[in-house]
């Protein structure tokens, strides 16, 4: 299983994702330069966090036009695994690989903190090492993570089991308070219908070593180690 971390101008969690896959998980990992048209034969594409193109105009709005996104879309269409973290999630929304859009956090402030999220669907390529209802402690760091979609879209993704993670309290209960950014249905991470593309606002790559305070992100990253049959 080979991983590719896309580098946009302004990506700033690219090195963290690279470190998590290569050094912590010990997997072959390579950077993918946004101007290239080459996925270098990777099995999983990571769109990392950061401020691609400064997040000017709108988070992720310019990055979707990067040359490499053509290959990423083709890769996704063929069933390749794509994980977008934070800004990477925003880019996936702009690419229409995932439904919905991001609004500013409900209290209009940037939020960097640990949150707890609950695994809603443990059958996906991004969560299969966990169990449904399992609570993971993982950090967030974003200004625009308040996921929104029209009611019919929300119903559809809920019905399809596309919600992979939801913000919850430490006991796994949903509450107004634990839904820190105000996302509809407390959605922290969701997949496409086919289940090969996932976007999430929390940063699993920041929670892979005990020295940093949590290893819960490993549940997500390790889920990616097996190819989908």
């Amino acid at each position: 299983m080979k991983f590719g971390v896309v580098v946009f101008p302004g990506s700033n969690c690219d090195a963290d994702a690279y470190h998590a896959f290569r050094d912590v998980l010990g997997k072959p990992t390579t950077y993918l330069w946004h101007k290239d048209h080459d996925l270098k034969g990777v099995d999983c594409v990571i769109l990392p966090g950061g401020f691609s193109y400064g997040d000017y105009l709108r988070s992720g709005a310019i990055a979707r036009f990067s040359p490499l996104m053509r290959e990423v879309c083709e890769f996704a269409d063929k069933g390749g695994l794509v994980l977008g973290i934070c800004n990477g999630f925003q880019v996936l929304l702009e690419l229409n690989l995932l439904p919905g859009a991001m609004l500013r956090n409900k209290r209009l402030k940037f939020l960097c903190q640990y949150v707890t999220i609950r695994i809603e669907n443990d059958k996906t390529a991004f969560s299969r090492k966990g169990t449904k209802g399992q609570v993971l402690r993982i950090p967030i760091a974003h200004f625009d993570g308040n996921w929104y979609a029209p009611p019919e879209t929300v119903k559809e993704i809920e019905d399809n089991g596309q919600v992979v993670f939801r913000y919850c309290d430490t006991e796994g209960r949903l509450s107004e308070e634990s839904n820190v950014n105000g996302s509809l249905n407390a959605i922290a991470g969701l997949s496409n219908k086919r289940g090969n593309v996932c976007g999430m606002m929390p940063h699993p790559e920041r929670a892979v070593e005990s020295i940093l305070g949590s290893e819960d992100g490993l549940v997500i990253l390790r889920s990616l180690l097996e190819k989908i049959s």
Partner: protein, 742 residues
């Protein structure tokens, strides 16, 4: 001299005295033209030349075995072993942050980052020391919101974590907020870069953002003088573009990693002028540039404007001619301009051409090295020798009430409202989240860790600048010690009023002496920093505020100690001794009594002995938590330990000192540390303390869910941890959610 090329008004607008003008004329060999005058004005300004402060700064200890680079470069460098160095510095952005809080603070972050990566280091941590006026004033709230958002915006976008800092509130900062930004970078020892040009014939390249008319020193004067189309007066505060800077970081680090340049300097204060004079001055060369080649954002800029613009996110690079194509390609990859604007010459002069004619021709050494140093008149500060009214002060009726007020005081209250807006985890090295006395970073590929803190206390320094200087060093080192780090290097940011006033100059001199003495005692070198004078508005100066940024090394990252209580039934030990020292305390502030006596005494020998005791106990693996009593004293210190405990474990403490109980609970005596150990290890810690003649005793145990503090067995404080924590957590956000006055 009425025959001067420039009249008194022009000189005044350039802050150049008649004597300085005569000196410039002598050094240049003729009278300077207006552009040249602008260059001298910027480079001989207080900010760039340290002309009022350098005679005093020279007294600071700058040498130690681990110092790779002391003051004089963009930042200081300390060797941390294993082939690695840290590059770090603190700098003020006070004035711009008052005028335009968001951009002022944001560009403060951008500026200090450039100082670090220009030396070949990847910036890995930011911290901020912030001071504002009281939050019941809406103006102060708006300044604070702006400053915090500005730091958040720039730091988060560029992807360097803001891992810690401090925030103080005092009336004296209402019209003069302080924004001091600290940055630390990591580099390999053999890949450090300096601001130099090396050989004659090397190319001078301009990289990064285009030059505009922002932040031009004396721009208004220039337009008056020329009588050309009078531009609308531009704001003096520059606008930051963190995205551009992120690209610049990556491109610069790439060309440095590949060693395809010879020297590099950022264009900060005084812009192109600063880099085109300092780089050749260090190499004993000259530089000739063509101003028409400088990438410009606006049409019709004059040489004066191009040279003195302080547009952000720009760097100057010197490279051998054969390296130029590779440098250009590296910057092109990141969509950045890299334009060859000139070359290194042998004549020691800065020559600038504009539309074909020579518009600047001056010796670089005159600009960089020959600014006069001033021995400004100073008055020894009048320091109170004893607290006149202390014995007559009534004791509090309700100690619980005092503690509740202290915990809700913005200076003491939890700062999560601030640091939650900063990405403090990006780069995944943050081993201790913000909120403790020091930040801790792991170093990848090493067992070691780095701790860092910024500290200062203007109230102590106001009462006695010398002691205030010492106290800032002592407390910063104590904060590092409490997480298990040994201090290794210092940077300082000295915030004062107008140095032309002998009283202010006296404060400065005394504070520098005090902090120098303390650094010497701790055996740590000052590797650089920044002086910010003229923090005065409407004739009111701030309290003298020396802020210290000190870095510590942790030998074993797995042995990091945190402030939170770890388990019920642990022994609580107080190292150091209590005394009746209230002056300058937060306690007097909240009960509304003026501070008039001397601030808490700083006994450096005792301070060092206390800290060494703690470090030895930590090295033996005995210490489960440590925290030092500072603002709010022992009571607040113990409360913080409970608040930081994930299980909110309380404590029951009893003090038997024959002192006023309010002094024991809320006094701010220095050289004290509250630590916890398993009960069976208490004896060993007391032995370690005794070996060093450090007073130490078991003052209680952890347990329960209340904070209980007794004096001679009389229960003075009894508060549920959860309730006290709520006050402490909500005080700051409450000011912004439910303003107490508008």
């Amino acid at each position: 001299m009425n025959t001067r090329l420039h009249d008194d008004k022009v000189l005044a607008l350039h802050n150049i005295t008649a004597d300085e003008y005569d000196l410039i004329t002598k050094l240049v060999g003729r009278e300077p033209n207006l552009t040249e005058l602008g260059i001298f004005s910027a480079m001989w300004s207080e900010h760039c030349s340290y002309k009022s402060s350098k005679v005093h700064l020279k007294t600071l200890p700058t040498k130690a075995a681990n110092v790779v680079q002391g003051p004089g470069e963009n930042a200081g460098i300390i060797d941390i072993g294993e082939g690695r160095v840290i590059v770090f510095k603190i700098e003020s952005h006070n004035h711009p942050s008052y005028i335009e809080p968001f951009q002022g603070a944001a560009t403060g972050v951008g500026g200090i980052l450039r100082d670090i990566f220009t030396m070949g280091a990847r910036p890995v941590a930011l911290m901020d020391s912030l001071r504002f006026g009281p939050l019941d004033n809406p103006k102060n709230r708006s300044i604070m919101e702006g400053v915090v958002s500005g730091i958040s915006s720039y730091g988060n976008s560029i992807g360097v974590p803001t891992v810690g800092g401090e925030v103080y509130f005092n009336e004296c900062y209402s019209l003069n907020p302080l924004v001091n930004v600290f940055c630390l970078g990591l580099a390999e020892k053999d890949k450090i870069f300096y601001a130099k040009t090396d050989d004659v014939g090397n190319a001078i390249l301009y990289v990064g953002a285009k030059t505009g008319r922002d932040g031009i020193h004396g721009a208004s004067m220039a337009s008056q003088e020329f009588g050309e189309d009078t531009e609308a007066k531009r704001p003096n505060v520059q606008v930051g573009d963190p995205f551009k800077e992120k690209l610049l970081v990556e491109a610069c680090l790439e060309v440095m990693e590949r060693k395809i340049i010879v020297g590099i300097q950022d264009m900060g204060a005084a812009g192109l002028t600063c880099s085109t004079t300092e780089m050749p001055a260090k190499s004993g060369t000259g530089v000739e540039i063509d101003l028409d080649l400088v990438p410009q954002r606006e049409k019709g800029m004059t040489p004066y404007e191009i040279l003195l613009s302080e547009s952000q996110e720009r760097m100057l690079i010197a490279a051998r001619p054969d390296q130029v194509p590779a440098v250009k390609a590296a910057f092109a990859k990141w969509d950045l301009d890299a334009v060859e604007i000139g070359k290194v010459t042998s004549d020691g002069r800065l020559k600038c051409r504009f539309h074909g004619s020579l518009v600047v021709d001056i010796p670089v050494s005159a600009v960089v090295d020959l600014c006069p140093a001033y021995h400004r008149p100073w008055e020894e500060p009048a320091v109170p020798t004893k607290s006149p009214s202390a014995s007559r002060r009534p004791l509090p009726k309700d100690y619980n009430d005092v503690l509740r007020k202290l915990l809700s005081s913005p200076t003491i209250a939890n700062k999560e409202w601030v640091y939650r807006q900063y990405d403090h985890m990006v780069l995944t090295n943050t081993a201790l989240l913000p909120g403790a006395g020091a930040a801790v970073l792991r170093i990848r590929g090493s067992r070691k860790g780095l701790a860092m803190t910024v500290d200062g206390n203007g109230r102590y320094a106001k009462l006695d600048p010398r002691t205030g200087g010492k106290a800032a060093v002592a407390e910063a080192c104590r904060n590092l010690t409490c997480v298990g780090a040994k201090p290794i290097g210092v940077t300082n940011c000295l915030n004062f009023g107008n140095p032309e006033k002998p009283g202010v100059m006296g404060q400065f001199k005394a504070a520098v002496e005090g902090l120098g003495q303390a650094c010497e005692a701790f055996g740590i070198a000052v590797t650089g920093g920044n002086v910010s004078f003229y923090n005065e508005t409407e004739g009111i100066a701030i309290d003298p505020t020396p802020v210290l940024g000190i870095v510590g090394l942790i030998e074993d990252i797995d042995k990091v100690v945190t402030p939170g209580f770890k388990a019920e039934g642990d022994a609580v030990i107080l190292l150091g001794r209590n005394a009746e020292e209230f002056e300058g305390s937060e306690y007097l502030e909240i009960i509304g009594l003026p501070s008039a006596g001397p601030p808490p005494d700083v006994d450096l020998d005792r301070e060092i002995a206390v800290q060494e005791t703690l470090l030895e106990a930590i090295a033996e693996g005995l210490v489960r938590s440590a925290n030092d009593p500072s603002e709010g004293g022992v009571a607040v210190c113990a409360a913080e330990c409970a608040f930081h405990s994930p299980e909110r474990i309380g404590c029951d403490l009893n003090f038997d000192d024959d002192l006023r109980p309010d002094a024991i609970l809320f006094g701010e005596s220095q050289a004290r540390i509250l630590l916890t150990v398993r009960p069976e290890n208490a004896e060993r810690v007391l032995e370690i303390a005794e070996k060093r003649d450090v007073p130490a005793k078991v003052v209680g145990t952890t347990g329960g869910h209340s904070l209980r503090i007794r004096h001679l067995d009389r229960l003075l404080v009894d508060l549920p941890v959860a309730m006290a924590r709520k006050l402490w957590m909500e005080a700051l956000p409450d000011y912004f959610a439910n303003p107490k006055s508008s």
